[in-house]
């Protein structure tokens, strides 16, 4: 089979592409969404765990019937996980995919691609 890291002496100079404005823009768009979002959910999760471990009395405050703050914050973790997932899907579909596929199609038209998967 072909080596996974086949020589990149293909038709495309990746270092040149890396310096292009459209690629830099793609990278910036990607990172400016995923990095802050990751920081946000990690901090929010750690804050929640610290609250549960060290401030149980706070979490025990009853809000409605037998439903207390701990349960609400826990369910809020589920909710933010679902929301961030939805937000990311919206972001990639509307902002990221058009940029990445433009570059991909152009490079593939120039003959760039993985070494072919093994044939038999």
């Amino acid at each position: 089979m072909t080596h996974v890291n086949a020589p990149h002496a293909g038709p495309v100079d990746y270092r040149e592409v890396q310096q292009r404005e459209d690629f830099k823009e793609l990278r910036k768009t990607h990172r400016s969404f995923v990095f802050p979002m990751t920081a946000f959910f990690l901090l929010w999760y750690i804050a929640f765990v610290i609250a549960a471990a060290f401030f149980p009395d706070f979490m025990a405050i009853k809000v409605w019937g037998n439903i207390n703050l701990g349960l609400i914050l826990g369910l809020a973790q589920f909710l933010t996980t679902f929301l961030i997932t939805g937000l990311y899907v919206w972001f990639t579909n509307s902002k990221l995919d058009p940029k990445s596929s433009a570059i991909r199609l152009e490079l593939e038209a120039r003959g760039a691609g993985l070494p072919e998967e093994e044939k038999h």
Partner: protein, 552 residues
Amino acid sequence: MNSLITAFTTNAAEAPLANAAAEAGSDVGSPLANIAIFVVFVGVTLFFVIRASKNNNTAADYYAGGRSFSGTQNGTAIAGDYLSAASFLGIVGAIAVYGYDGFLYSIGFLVAWLIALLLVAELMRNTGKFTMADVLSFRLRQQPVRIAAAISTLAVCLFYLLAQMAGAGALVSLLLGIDSGVGQSLIIAVVGALMIFYVFIGGMKGTTWVQIIKATLLIIGSAVMTIWVLALYGFNFSELLGAAVENTGEEALLEPGLQYGADLFTKLDFMSLGIALVLGTAALPHVLIRFYTVPTAKDARKSVVVAIALIGAFYLFTLVLGYGAAALLDTETILAAPGGQNSAAPLLAYELGGTLLLGFIAAVAFATILAVVAGLTITASASFAHDVYAQVIKKGKLDSAGEVKAARMTVIVVGILAILGGIGAQGQNVAFLVALAFAVAASANLPTILYSLFWKRFTTRGALWSMYGGLSSALLLIAFSPVVWGRDTSFFPDVDLAIYPLTNPGLVSIPLAFLLGWIGSLTSKVAEDPAKQAEMEIRSLTGVGAEKATEH
């Protein structure tokens, strides 16, 4: 405190079943019904496995299911892979007995998927072919990085596999009423042989179908039980909570602290576990390998979205089921049953739907073990055959058919090791192994994955320091922890050499591995190839070539 720690690790695996299970057979339900339903499951999955086996000639077929699965199928299979019997039996039981703290545990398991979604899934799919090592060695020095990645992959798979196999024997005594040591060993051997057959014949395609079927059954079964429980309380969750408190007489059931709140160390231990879960999930090799079974990065994204929806829904069900068990069952009965708190879900099923529902849930629990061990075995065999044998030993000069042959040999070896290990681990407290697998994945794999994908100046030395440093520090900390020394549940209860006070190494080993990767890279004298870095970055973000690769 000892019992707290035991219970604390219990969630992570079903192994403690082994201790209690030997004492008594199950006195509820009908073992025959349980076996019959399980046999039906085996029959159905065998059909799919044999059908899948007809097209398993190339490495892409065998390791990656021909990249022919849709995002929805793969997402369901990921849920099947991830929701082990520990999640199902362990979390329901933990909520039934410890209330809120059990719920706390499930949140980490879910939130973890955001790392996979945002940072890992698509970029890994775009860059690699079959294994994690493909990505990690892309722009670094092939041989050493590939070997390190294979070692940590095999370590994580082995820990996880042992815990599952040991749990299988215990589950049997709980659900089938087989309580002799020989009987349990026999069942472990049967489960192992079945698993070897599935993976050997069916490869990734067969394994994936087993996981899809199992995930569907598990989620339908728990959804039915959830609606049933809620209906008993007029679909008023607050009323269910009130009934749980009233029935158990435990006011604190609804607030944190029953399980982890004893002292500073139990609290830190929980934080360490929580961090290891969140950072480890996206770096578990058997999760990563699933991203290669779909044709495009977009399908990898869809997989994670579907997995998050299914896993999230499932953990919401366990919240209802756990408090439902607390409200409807007697805590003493749960703890006295074979398997202790792990028996809460089966007992609840019996309480609600009698023999038939119990049989269904029992069969699902079995199917779960089978599906999870199959997923681990195909991952371990891909890693050995592709990374170690084909790329390192044969220097990439092995053809596809040769690689599949090597992978199949590895399946047999791994399967036999798992059977022997599972039999040997019976009655041992190996519950810590699952938590350890997450901690090793988070320390040995995640830093290198993230650095390779996002940090230009990352080097081979950084990768090796981080992977070996993360792996060995996690193992060393466990070796000098209360898991091994000085507690009733330790391997050596009478000698206390536990220098590290926690039972989970993550709190130390994960930051250490990140630090080592950073220092190792900064102190490297050899620069990495910038052209390779450029190629990897462009491929990871655009998917150049990766999507075309399977069109033939």
